[in-house]
Amino acid sequence: MSSFLLPRRHALLAGGAALLAPTVLTGGARAQETPRRGGVLVAQTFSDLRTLNPAIRTSFAIHVYTSKMVEPLVDLDAEGKPAPRLAVSWESSPDGKTITFGLRKGVQWHDGKPFTSADVQFCAMEMWRKYQNFGTQLHRNLTAVDTPDPHTAVFRYSVPMPLPLLLRAAAELCQVVPRHVYEGTDILNNPANTAPIGTGPFKFVSYVPGQHVIMERNPNYWMEGFPYLDRVVIRCIPDAPAAVAALESGDVMLSVYSSLPRVDYVRLGKDSRFRVGTKGNEANPLFNTIGFNTRRPELADPRVRRAFAHALDLDFYTKNFDYGFSRRAQGPWPSGSTFFVPGVPDYPFDPKKAEALFDEARLKRGTAGPGLRYKGRIMPNTSEGIRQLAVFIQQSMKKVGVQLDMQVMDSPGYNRKVNTEWDFEICTDTGTYRGDPAVGSTIWYRSGIPPGTPWSNQFGWKNEELDRVSDEAATEIDPDKRKALYNRFATIANSEIPVWMALQQLMMSAVNVKVRNDHNMPRWPSSSWHDTWLAS
């Protein structure tokens, strides 16, 4: 029975930006070809949350399945700008407290009933605001959704809601499911949560939890002539070698969300049967984070945290250990995002400076044992890249007199130890940027987050100015002012580094060359695939 205790060999959120990867995805570039109708597209991903209702749970592991069946109000276009889906127009009142969506006409649910503003109202008030992770935060100040006519939904907030924030978040967080299926039922246990009814280009056929979801063409899809594919099957294959084999044998045609080991991306990239790369994943970059428990007196001193940062040769790491899939980040907003402004405090590799900073903070060699400045534990979360980074940190820190003992746990264990009990000194993890700092990024730094909240401020760190800036920016409707506030945020965050967003990367996809019109927008794995087709 010892095999029960083997860690799962999946590459949870591994992968990275293919800066040095040999080929780049070129989906969507073959404009001269006539799309072929029909065919079954089998795709692979590594996890399945056993629920298929994106209106109450949001995660890559849900959207990748449901985005073909359930549609959001707004999605992103090829350039990452808001693109109409179920909403065709949007407008904010001058005070930013009222946002009016014009809804698409002539849209039918998969069960034949018409889609109206009542559906949007129900989802917003009863699902997003009440149950959906992140939705509860985003719509915290939503007081009502008015429906003056079947094709207009008016969102009323008690404090200003920046329109760009809502529109960007909508792609993930404003997913619409039918009111007539959910109203008056126990929403969390509604059977439609595992057999979704939506408006999307594909209709639900069957779901075997932990195995696959099968979908078929929706003949009544509102976008005339789409989709091209007859069926879409998404298989959950957590075992990375098995996933590689399935792709290579042609059993699956594409693999999304960094489900394969890095070394296989390098190998498949050289194989003419596949395209490998990060295109189509730009909307949600990942950070590799290094966090410090500032409840420990030594780590409460920002000089000590900076010393850690200076002691790590990250350029060497990405080149030699990470196949060039990641690179140094510069602050909490990824380069390429709307809010990125270069010039936040940075920590180039400089071991001498690191030693000097330790000395300044009175952590001299010999204080924690012979030749040692500090002794503590480093805890990596589960994922291929993160454990490797932890080993690199451990060995780099040894050179400047810091001994870190590694404590490896599976992710529930990590969640309990680090995120709930705060029983750690250094932790390394992966953080996702969700298109807007207000969605899931500022909580990495904000104080007052209760224990047991993963991917937030586990570090016991508090900075009043940052808390204030964070709150102001969340309700600031002037885009320039908002950007300035977040730049101030980034400057404080990176000069104090309670958590250091050390490396930045994009998720990887590997695609069989027969697939066409893939990865043609920045969150493609979780998009509708209505225009995707298979060459014969």
Binding site: F4, L49, R57, V208, R231, D239, P241, A245, I449
Partner: protein, 327 residues
Amino acid sequence: MILRLFWLALRRLAASLPCLAIIFVTLFFLLQLAPGDAVDAMLSQMGTSDDRLAAALRDQYGLAGPQSARLLAYMGRLAHFDLGQSVQYGKPVLDVILSRVPATLALMTSALLLAFILGSAVGIVAARRVNRWPDTLISTLGLVFYATPSFWFGLMGILLFSVKLGWLPSGGLTDVSANRDGFAFLADVAVHLVLPVTTLALIYFAIYLRIMRASMLEVMTLDFIRTARAKGVRETGVLVRHALRNALLPLVTVLGLQAGAMLGGAVVVEGIFTLPGIGSLALDAVLGRDLNMLLGIVLMSSVLVILVNFVVDLAYARLDPRILAQE
């Protein structure tokens, strides 16, 4: 005879009850020792966070109260044959387990049969040609199979037969891109099971062949074999009717003992071949800290092992009537 069998079965069952209870309580507390609960696992899988979600989920799944109270509640429900709800699946544990049983049963019985038949046949051949080249070849191969981890065989099998040659599917129980039913469906499942069954069977094949060889060699030196030969029974008759039946006893013993171990092997094989069986379910349950599910699986497995061993006892009696007579 039937009545005696019934009493034998009942006695076995009664003897295994305390054992089951110990397994349950130990497992319950062992799993509490692993840091994190089902909600921790769920949140980490979600890849998202929310300050209100965790508490709401713990309430929803009844993970709040003290451990002892939860253990008592669990045992109480079990007494009513209620295995409870799975946190991961949001369904009754029994339903989920039953939906996974066919794949594992097909995998295990096929692998066991294959290993048993091939192992005994090849073992006999080796014993008959002892210390000559067929024996050396078979014994060496057996050692190689026994020493190699099953996941390596599985991966190499996938690499050769599905990636390079394209003869067999790389995983799964059926071809999900096609819509098959009836005979075509069964054929499809059979094709999908070729590699996993072979992978799982190889190790046990190696064990059975070595046991069979040793056992055969021993039996062949016994007096009754000489008697049979002296009577003028032909060599095949001596082998099959006189020697084999006696040589099978140790093999059948091991077969029963290993039914449980095979379930462990199924975890690895089901993982590699992404089969929707009990093994992968158990692994998921551990990683997801789905206590009800794990206890349910342990219960099912224990019942299965007890059953198999009961069948093995019956087989003893059939092979050697003296055994039942002594009971």
